[in-house]
Structures are given as structure tokens and as C-alpha cells.
């Protein structure tokens, strides 16, 4: 794609990440996440930030919501043609924005609420395929959010500017995650910012994956093609594969992505558990994510924080009443929750899991 170097090349970046969840599913204003991420401006360099919000489209919650950015006018026609072929477009509109001079030029941003009439038995796989096809085939179009009752908002700029641009304080969500980026070159492409999303998964990620080549080629076996060349994309697909398609729980996913060392496995006393951990490493070796990372992954029911196996990137968690906080820095939590009930450093490879409570009744 023309003029979008970071779409064709992998750009390592350092970052700040933060996530806040109300475990009872009570929505709260985007103001909170904005304060949290803006207390970590140091961790970014103004070249990318974004937000993911869950529960923001309650009236249209049964429809797939695609957020699409267009770099040129014909892209929009092509993409819409494609969408109309495969989906029933229930509603579409420009994504509401406010003019922020420092961000210009901005791409055309549009959202579509879709019904997958001919999605077949596995509607989610159909949606993934559709997103990948648009992103691969339709020049200048990029689907950056594709879940239900959730949305991702991102672009090239500081989090305060991006937050203002997308009018983040006007949304109310029960899970918010946010990202502040420090890429190692100067990307001009908005799609390269985080969060990265597929279906209702969103990922904010701080890290550089040394096992990128291995992970990417492993994912291709399962039909995931990394079109963005970002580490975060790999992370999102791995979660989708392991949780949605292979049915693993988050603790097990932690044991796959940041697997315990063999020396630790040997010390596990329970034989059944030892066998399980060994089997996971044997089968899922190519899914081990090596290199430093701290990641906050969310879907409509969960928010999960995870570190690499030797904790090479910071991650702090805290809880207060119904709220779970996960962030790169304690400062990002304290600024919105002065006096948490509990605050801790998650151990390397041990997931911090926030689950929506009303899920199992």
C-alpha cells in the first residue's frame, strides 16, 4: 500500500498500556481511561495511541460493528461494495469526531453495523475471513474494529489528542483499554496504532516479539495471515486461536504464551499437572511468545493482563470494589483510583484475569 511503510514492515515499539474493567458490567465514562493513559505520556512519543471500549453500542449490540478507515475516496466504494455482497448493512455512519489541528491530515473514518446473513455455521470465522480479505484486497481500506457492542478508536497522535478527536469521554463502557505508543520510526499510518482488534478481541501490547517469525508462520497453519506485520496482531490471533477455537482457558493460555520453564515444570508435584504442562509445551511450542511483552487483552466477557515468561516489561494490577485495573505503571492506576483495596505486580507468565460476573449467573 502506498505511503504506509509500517503496514509493510514490522515496527518495534515501546509503549504504555492500561485497562480498567467493571466486573459487574456497569458502564463508566471514557474520561477515566483518558486520565489513566494520559498519566503515562512519558511512555509514548506522540506517534500512536488508541482506546478499546466494551458495551458502547447497546442498541445495536446484536450486529457486527466494523470501524473502517479509508485513505482514499475510491477505497470506500470498493469496501462498501464488498460489505453489501457479504452482509446486510443495518446502519452506517461516520465515526463522530472533533477537529484536532495537531492530528491532521486524518483518514476517512466510518462505522458499519452488519448482519452476517450467509455467515454459515461458524459466523465468527466468516467475519474473520471477511476482515482479512478487506484488509488484504481492498487497497486503502482498513477494518480496525470488528466486534459486537464494542469499538476500537485509534490514530497517530498523543492519547489526549486522540481521545479528544474521537470524543472518548462521551462513551460509556464497562471495559476500557488504552495504549500509548513509542514506535522506533515515524509511521504515518493510523492503522498501525493500537489497540489491535479482531472480532470482539482487543489487544494493547507493550513489547517486541523475538519469536515473531515462528509465531506468524504457526498462525498461517490455521488461516491467520498477519497483514499488518505488527507484533500485536500476532498476539490477538494467538488469543483467538487458543481461546475461541481451541477452547483453552486463560490460565492455560498463559501457560502456552508464557510457558513455565522446564525446570519449573519438573518441580510440579502433581503428576497430572506436570503431564499437562509438558503436553502444552510439546504441542504449542510454536505459540510460545518469546521476548519482552506486557499485554492487556479484552473481549466482551474478560479483561486479562499477561507478562512474558521472565517479565521483561512492567505490568501492575489493582482492584477496588468491582473494578480491576491493569497498567504499565502504578501511576496510571493511582491517578484514577487513589486508594485501591489491593495492588500487586503480576508474576511472569501468570495471567491476571478479570471476568464479567453476571456471565454465569
Amino acid at each position: 500500500m502506498d505511503g504506509t511503510p509500517d503496514r509493510d514492515f514490522r515496527v518495534p515499539s515501546g509503549c504504555g498500556i492500561t485497562g480498567i474493567m467493571n466486573r459487574r458490567g456497569r458502564a463508566f465514562s471514557g474520561e477515566v481511561i483518558l486520565s489513566s493513559i494520559c498519566n503515562m505520556l512519558e511512555r509514548g512519543n506522540g506517534l500512536g495511541s488508541g482506546f478499546a471500549a466494551y458495551g458502547i453500542y447497546p442498541e445495536l449490540k446484536d450486529y457486527w460493528c466494523f470501524h473502517i478507515m479509508y485513505q482514499k475516496a475510491p477505497s470506500k466504494d470498493h469496501a462498501e461494495e464488498y460489505l453489501k455482497d457479504r452482509f446486510r448493512v443495518v446502519h452506517h455512519e461516520p465515526i463522530p469526531t472533533k477537529r484536532v489541528r495537531s492530528l491532521e491530515p486524518v483518514p476517512v473514518l466510518w462505522r458499519y453495523f452488519l448482519e452476517a446473513e450467509d455467515g454459515g455455521p461458524d459466523e465468527e470465522d466468516f467475519v474473520i475471513r471477511s476482515v482479512m480479505e478487506i484488509n488484504r484486497e481492498v487497497d486503502g481500506a482498513f477494518v480496525f474494529s470488528s466486534g459486537k457492542n464494542m469499538g476500537i478508536f485509534k490514530g497517530v497522535g498523543d492519547p489526549d489528542a486522540i481521545g479528544e478527536f474521537y470524543r472518548i469521554p462521551e462513551y460509556r463502557a464497562y471495559i476500557w483499554t488504552a495504549h500509548n505508543r513509542f514506535p522506533t520510526n515515524s509511521p504515518g499510518w493510523w492503522g498501525g496504532a493500537h489497540p489491535f482488534g479482531i472480532l470482539d478481541w482487543s489487544v494493547v501490547h507493550n513489547g517486541e516479539i523475538s519469536s515473531y517469525g515462528t509465531n506468524r508462520r504457526y498462525l498461517e497453519n490455521f488461516g491467520y495471515y498477519c497483514t499488518l506485520s505488527t507484533d500485536t496482531e500476532v498476539m490477538a490471533y494467538l488469543f483467538d486461536l487458543l481461546v475461541r477455537r481451541h477452547g483453552l482457558d486463560f490460565e492455560t493460555v498463559g501457560n502456552v504464551l508464557a510457558s513455565p520453564f522446564w525446570s519449573q515444570i519438573e518441580r510440579v508435584e502433581d503428576e497430572g499437572r506436570r503431564r499437562l504442562l509438558k503436553a502444552l509445551r510439546i504441542a504449542y511450542g510454536p505459540a510460545l511468545v518469546n521476548g519482552p511483552f506486557a499485554v492487556i487483552v479484552a473481549n466482551s466477557k474478560y479483561m486479562v493482563g499477561l507478562n512474558d515468561r521472565i517479565k521483561l516489561r512492567p505490568l501492575v494490577a489493582a482492584s477496588k470494589d468491582d473494578f480491576l485495573y491493569i497498567a504499565s505503571e502504578e501511576a496510571a492506576i493511582r491517578v484514577v483510583c487513589e486508594d485501591p483495596d489491593d495492588i500487586w505486580m503480576p508474576k511472569a507468565g501468570e495471567p491476571t484475569v478479570g471476568k464479567l460476573e453476571d456471565e454465569d449467573g
Binding site: S210, S211, T214, I282, A283, P286, P292, I310
Partner: protein, 505 residues
């Protein structure tokens, strides 16, 4: 007509002032190069018999002997090298096929030498293997695509993991039969493999009773001659390897001359003493892929599906589809042996001209298996001329699960690559059955040296991994992002699946 003399390949230089007439060279050389004349108290060396194994040079207590290469001084000719000319002279004399030992020595492009590795800087911390865990543990065998976990009170494993070889390092000793090498050489490698936690390979030589203590780490080979194959043999090993081909001599069989079949070899191979052990070029029960499948499952049935069964082939033009067929035929691992792979004996013209470089073979096989979605069903073991830990790392980054080393292991035991294995006169006691020669190789010392080699390479691999910011070998496997080509053209880069040096991610 006048007959051309063979020009010596080496000149034996003796410093007469240093020589103390101890005659160790006279007693030790199996090629009878040195002769002592008591009348004149002199040692005369017949250079034309010297094979360049450097044994006498290394043994001489005063350093009196130097073995120098000697090029036949025919008129310089780019097209007709001395070697080519003298090969023709030899063939005009004998009317026979020229034989040689070890791997191809022709100057084909060395792809390992045209690839460089990555390291972390700033954006990603490198990991110090002296301070942090660094894992080389490797499993050979088919892997399930999905692990299913039963949810009871405690999560429980519900997926049956196929049989695996568990290795402490991704390096194994490749197939070298008892017969082609001495029992002491076999013992050295077998013991080193057991001590280190990796595997050795019986080759087509059967399993001598003295090697039984090391059988739990032995990959037992079933080759076209079926030598030494019986129920106990199959049960004894930790894995079974069906040998279809070998990198040094793709498409042709094996021939262990009767002189190398004394009593012990005869018992182990289950053939009469002194008879030639002929391995046919093909397996005569495998004329196609479906026949291979039958043999794979016959062996799995015979061993109750308790151990991995793999197939070894030489890297040839069609290696990727062949490997794919082998995996679909049920193999748990595929061994690919490249053009540099060694041998105890092969026709020179075959060794030097048939097959393809292992680097390209790994790359295309790994890619093909992934494209077909069957990469998890079998491990890839690469073989053929690995000279250093860097070659191993590059092979794994291209997609191999583990490598076999043969030549490097023999060098650790003393081999100086004289390429005369087929004569059975190996002065180092490796490629010979002559008891006078084999006793020179002490299996305890040999095992320690082979172990040291595994240890040294493993330490170096850990250093390289740490530099890349990786702390488990599985994150290197197929990770071609960590490789860059230097001086490779577009086709080569495309086949290897790597970018050129200077290109970023």
C-alpha cells in the same frame, strides 16, 4: 607403453635432527608409509602411500614429522585439474569406479556461510544465558494440533501426545553403522549421547550386545539390507528410522566389503563372516509411497505405537513433495540429508554430483509442510555437513527441529578427513575393524570428547539465542526473521524464505 606413476597427494617431511628413531610412526601407520632400516639407522617415508590422516604427525614425540599437501605439478589448466587428470589415469588402470569416503568436498555454494543472524539492541533486551534460564529441550515426533483439557475438579489432559524423543539439545549423532565404524567409535558416540541426553543412531549395522546399555538412546535403523533387524532390535531402540537414502550417495545402496565383516560384525548384522554386506539401492519392498506407508505401520505395529518411526531421505530435487508424502504416509519424523552428508564409502562421482544443499532442502520442506498444514505431524531432522553451532542455529531458524552430526562427531574422535574410510585402514581407529587399529580409540576418552563437543555447541547456541532475545529453542524454530542473506540472489532468498541483510523486519 610407459605407465604414469601416481603422484603423491602428500609429502612426508622428516626433520632428521629431531627424529630419535623411536619408530612409533613405523609401528603405527596402517598404510606402511614409514620403514626403519637398522643397517643405516634411518627411517624412510614413502610419501605416495600417505593418505594425509596426520596420525604419525600427531604421535611423533619430537615433532619431527610434517605432512604437507602436494599438488601434482602438471601444467596449469583451469578445466583439467590435477585431480581430474589423475582420476582418469587411475580409471584407465583399473577400469573401476572411484571410491571415496566422507562428504562432498566440491566448491558448491555454502549457504550457511551466506546467512547471518540477528541480535537484540535497545528495543528488546538480550538475555544472558549465564544468568537466566535458556532452554534447548527438543521433542522429536508428531505433535497434536489441539490439546484438549477435561474440566473436572482439576484440569486434566485429554489429548494423547504421540510418542516423542526428548532431547536436551537439538543435536543428535547421525547414522554410522557398526561395520562402517569400529565398535569403540560406536561406544564413544552412544555413551556421549546417553550422558548428554540426546540420541545416537545404529545405522544399518544392527545393535552389538556391548551397545545394549545405550540402547535407550539409540535410533535403530531399518535400511534396504535389513541387517541386524529383529524384534529385540526394534524393541531396544527409542525410535526407528527407515533409511531410504543418504546425502553422500542418493539413489545408490551400500557395500560393506567382506574384509570389514569379521566375527563380531557378522553376528551383529546376522550375515556370514567375510561376506560382503550389500544394501540394495531401493528397498525391494518399497517401490512407491504406499509401500513406505505399509512399512511405517508394520514397524509401528511391531513396537505397539510406543516409539516414533521416521524416514531418512537424501535431499534431491523433489525433496519437498517427497517429504510431504512421507509425512502423509505416517512418519513421525523426516530426516533430510544434504549433499555434504558423509559416508564410509561412496563412488566419488555420486558423492560429488548428486543431491542438493541441505539449507535449501530444509527451507523448502518446512515451507511445503506448512502450506499443506501438516508441519505439526512430523519433526524435521536435518543432516549433512554441520560444521559449527552456527550452522545448527541457522538450520533450526530455517525450520529444522533438530540436526544430525556425523562428520563433526568423528572429528571429535580424531578424524582428520582423509576420506579413506572405505579402505578399512583408519589409523585413528574409527573407520576400521582391525583390532590393532580400533584399540587406539579409547571409548571412555572418545565419549568425553564427543560429549564436550555437544556441550560446547549447546553453550554457543544458548549465547546466540540469548543475543536474539530468545530463551527457548522452540522460538527459533522456523523463525526466519532472525536470518538475513549476504550475497544471495533473489531466487535464493525466495527459496530460503529470508530477507537480504540490510532489510529491516
Amino acid at each position: 607403453m610407459a605407465k604414469a606413476k601416481y603422484r603423491p597427494e602428500f609429502i612426508v617431511q622428516r626433520d632428521d635432527e629431531k627424529c630419535i628413531r623411536c619408530q612409533v610412526c613405523v609401528r603405527m601407520c596402517s598404510n606402511d608409509v614409514h620403514t626403519y632400516y637398522p643397517e643405516t639407522d634411518t627411517v624412510i617415508s614413502e610419501s605416495s602411500r600417505c593418505v594425509g590422516c596426520h596420525f604419525c604427525e600427531d604421535l611423533c614425540p619430537t615433532g619431527a614429522i610434517t605432512i604437507c599437501r602436494s599438488e601434482p605439478q602438471i601444467k596449469e589448466n583451469y578445466h583439467w585439474s590435477g585431480t581430474e587428470v589423475y582420476n582418469i589415469i587411475k580409471q584407465a588402470d583399473s577400469g573401476g569406479v572411484l571410491l571415496t569416503g566422507m562428504g562432498c568436498d566440491r566448491p558448491y555454494k555454502d549457504y550457511f556461510g551466506h546467512m547471518v543472524l540477528n541480535a537484540s539492541q535497545v528495543t528488546n533486551p538480550s538475555i544472558d544465558p549465564l544468568r537466566e534460564p535458556m532452554e534447548l529441550k527438543t521433542f522429536i515426533g508428531g505433535k497434536p494440533e489441539v490439546v484438549v483439557i477435561k474440566k473436572s475438579s482439576e484440569p486434566e489432559l485429554a489429548t494423547q501426545i504421540p510418542p516423542q524423543l526428548e532431547l536436551e539439545t537439538p543435536i543428535m549423532f547421525s547414522a554410522m553403522s557398526y561395520g562402517s565404524i569400529s565398535l569403540n567409535a560406536c561406544k564413544s558416540l552412544a555413551k556421549a549421547a546417553c550422558d548428554f541426553g540426546t540420541c545416537w543412531n545404529t545405522g544399518e549395522g544392527g545393535l552389538h550386545r556391548d551397545l545394549l546399555p545405550y540402547a535407550h538412546r539409540a535410533i535403530v535403523q531399518v535400511a534396504s539390507g535389513r541387517f541386524g533387524v529383529n524384534k529385540e532390535y526394534l524393541d531396544a531402540g527409542c525410535a526407528i528410522e527407515i533409511k531410504i537414502g543418504q546425502g553422500a550417495k542418493p539413489g545408490i545402496g551400500g557395500h560393506l566389503p567382506g574384509e570389514k565383516v569379521p566375527e563380531e560384525v557378522s553376528r551383529t548384522r546376522m550375515i556370514p563372516e567375510g561376506t560382503d554386506a550389500l544394501s540394495p539401492a531401493p528397498h525391494h519392498d518399497i517401490y512407491s509411497i504406499e509401500d513406505l506407508k505399509q512399512l511405517i505401520f508394520a514397524l509401528k505395529e511391531a513396537t505397539r505405537y510406543e516409539k516414533p518411526v521416521g524416514v531418512k531421505i537424501a535431499a534431491v530435487h523433489n525433496v519437498a513433495p517427497i517429504a510431504s508424502g512421507i509425512v502423509r504416509a505416517g512418519a513421525d519424523f523426516v530426516v533430510i540429508d544434504g549433499i555434504r552428508g558423509g559416508t564410509g564409502a561412496a563412488p566419488t562421482v555420486i558423492r560429488n554430483n548428486v543431491g542438493i544443499p541441505i539449507e535449501l532442502a530444509i527451507a523448502v520442506v518446512d515451507r511445503r509442510l506448512r502450506e499443506e498444514g501438516i508441519r505439526n505431524r512430523a519433526s524435521i531432522i536435518a543432516a549433512g555437513g554441520f560444521r559449527s553451532s552456527a550452522d545448527v542455529v541457522k538450520a533450526i531458524a530455517l525450520g529444522a527441529d533438530a540436526v544430525y552430526i556425523g562428520t563433526a562427531a568423528l572429528i571429535a574422535l580424531g578424524c582428520h578427513l582423509c576420506q579413506k574410510c572405505y579402505t578399512g585402514k583408519c589409523n585413528w581407529g574409527i573407520a576400521t575393524q582391525d583390532p590393532y587399529l580400533t584399540k587406539r580409540l579409547n571409548p571412555e576418552i572418545g565419549a568425553r570428547r564427543a560429549y564436550n563437543l555437544l556441550r560446547a555447541w549447546s553453550l554457543e547456541i544458548k549465547e546466540m539465542l540469548g543475543g536474539m532475545g530468545i530463551n527457548a529453542i522452540e522460538s527459533l524454530r522456523g523463525n526466519r526473521e532472525q536470518l538475513r542473506g549476504v550475497g544471495l540472489n533473489e531466487v535464493e532468498l525466495e527459496l530460503l524464505g529470508i530477507k537480504h541483510a540490510g532489510e529491516a523486519w
